[in-house]
Amino acid sequence: MTSPRLAGWSLRARVTAAGLLGVLVLLGVCGLAVVAYFESTLLRQVDDGLVGDSEFVARVLPEVAQLPPGTVVHRDVLVQVVDPEGVVFGGSENAEGLPALASLEPGEDPQAMHFRDTELDGEPLRALIRPSEAFEGLQLVLARPVGQVDTAVAEIRRLVLAGVPLLSIALGVLLWLVTGRALRPVDDMRSTVEEIEASDLGRRVPTSGRDDEIDRLAATVNDMLGRLEASVERQRRLVADASHELRSPIAGVRVQLETEQTGDAEVVRESRAEALEDLRRLQQLIDDLLLLASGDAARHEPERWVDLDELVLSQAEQLRRTTSLHIDVAGVSGGQVYGHAAELERLVGNLASNAARHAESRVSFEVRERTDLVELTIADDGAGVPEADRSRIFERFTRLDDARDRDRGGAGLGLAIVADVVAGHGGEVAVEDAEPNGARFVVRIRKSKPSPPAPTTRR
């Protein structure tokens, strides 16, 4: 609704201008309407007065054409008795010597009343011409000057034409002040937010407690600042935790290599194995961190059909080659979901390494398709997870038994990633007791078909 010219104006200016213009037009129209009504009422009163007077005159003039001096009619009313040709037969004292002030037009009904606007010596008159009951064929003419009416109306009109713009301007000024006042909190909010830096996210915009629109906006802005602060804090914590985790394996490898003595082949082999393990752990951690850092925002990879059984068999194969654990895949049947292949691969990989890390002698895998979802189960025969810790283990950087876990290669992010990926695929993960001992992780993911079963895009 803003015209191009108004586009650059401030809210305050627009409100004031709209208000001023609106009032001007409204008051102006009303004012002029009132004036017109006033004028017509006055004129009607004059006419009614003339009619009343004419009744009176008709009674007083039964046989005489001349009004007795001193007969009271309304002041300034001129009375005449005229014939159709305009000859004056008589009338009131004040009309003596005057020519006929009004006469019948041809075609006009002599038995009816007619009004005329006429003048006398430049003064406007309102005249009534009606049949005289006493004298056959003669008309009574009553006339009254209406100059006063005109003057009164003109006066009022002038008042309106002067007053309305003044009122409008006054209102405009008032609007300007009020909007300025009302909008000040908005400007305060803006300047506060402008000043907020990453270093002082604890600041909040002021609220007035009035619970109006501006206040609610302030409350919402503060909520947002709160969320921002929490998010930045989380990230800071992640970086702090991670930097320690990143540095440790590097330190480990470095020391190993720096102090390696060539000579005892067995010792060299062992230290090399440990260094490799540290590097593997470091690589895993970096991958995990990158995945977490990119969050749910940047999912580069588009979704497609993924065979979970393939991912599981591949992990099982890897565990067979790199550990001496017994790997059981008898329960791996087909299981296909629609999702992000790299993330699902990470999910399976993390659960597999977690199981391998804790297992005493065996790890078992199961993949099953149910009606709407695919169920993936990975179990180890290690120490298991106490019930009290079962939700905690999916948080970042938590380890149930710090030293022991770290030595075995855990950095505390693997299960957090698992939880993240599972959530991103609309599934759930839980840990239970394995029989006879150990932990069993069960992941359930929706199969999630796209609406037509045969998508025509490749991926």
């Binding site: 580069h300 080659r321 791996v332 049947s333 087909g334 991926r459």
Partner: protein, 226 residues
């Protein structure tokens, strides 16, 4: 067994060569795409290990050109996982397998052995049965004019059936050919894949393109055939 390794990172290249030679392979190294392409043309290799990030011609281009000139030597691509190039692209260009860096040498070895076990695909010709068309080298499948989105394994199962169209194939045969004779998982996995294929081909549960012969196995026929 001769292997061509096209990799420009010296340390990775020499490390891999050392490991493979210890396993009994003969390894040649090229450090850029153009030279790799030329070498592959001169010498017949059993496997080509191809890195993606190469100076000049990148791995995808080398792979595509090899396939274009009818060279179907198994190719294992090393992907950098930068997000732009992903595994699907590797397979679609005509590679047989991929591995993301950094990789475990043990896993690389396992993948190479798996590739050597597989029958070589010599022709680029797609399989056609009725209006079902499968192009394994490009990983695409059509039923009539509709393209069907299949996973790699699904394509292998379908390819196996299509190559024996009209014949009854035993479940155990499918299992052994695609999952290997030492498969230790649930044999029911074949049924699950058949079910997936039927669903994607929008089939009735039986007596469509893929028919179940009770107690024996499966048979694939052209659509609409009695």
């Amino acid at each position: 067994m001769r292997i061509l390794l096209v990799e420009d990172e010296r340390r990775v290249a020499s490390g891999v060569r050392r490991g493979l030679e210890a396993e009994g392979f003969d390894v040649d190294i090229e450090t850029d795409g153009a030279s790799g392409l030329a070498r592959a043309g001169q010498v017949s290799y059993d496997i080509v290990i191809l890195d993606i990030m190469l100076p000049g011609l990148n791995g995808f281009q080398v792979c595509a050109r090899l396939r274009e000139r009818g060279d179907w030597t198994p190719i294992l691509m090393l992907t950098a996982k930068t997000g732009e190039y992903d595994e699907a692209e590797a397979l679609d260009t005509g590679a047989d397998d991929y591995l993301t860096k950094p990789f475990s040498f043990v896993v690389l070895l396992a993948r190479l052995h798996a590739l050597l076990r597989r029958p070589r695909r010599d022709a680029a010709e797609p399989l056609v049965v009725g209006d079902l068309r499968l192009d394994p080298s490009r990983h695409r499948c059509w039923l009539g004019t509709t393209e069907i989105s299949l996973t790699a394994r699904e394509m292998e199962v379908l390819s196996h059936l299509m190559q024996r169209a009209g014949l009854v194939v035993a479940k155990s045969e499918i299992l052994a050919d695609i999952w290997g004779p030492e498969f230790e998982g649930d044999p029911n996995i074949v049924e699950v894949y058949i079910r997936h294929l039927r669903r994607k081909l929008e089939e009735p549960s039986d007596n469509g393109i893929i028919t179940t012969i009770r107690g024996v196995g499966y048979r694939l026929d052209a659509r609409g055939a009695p």
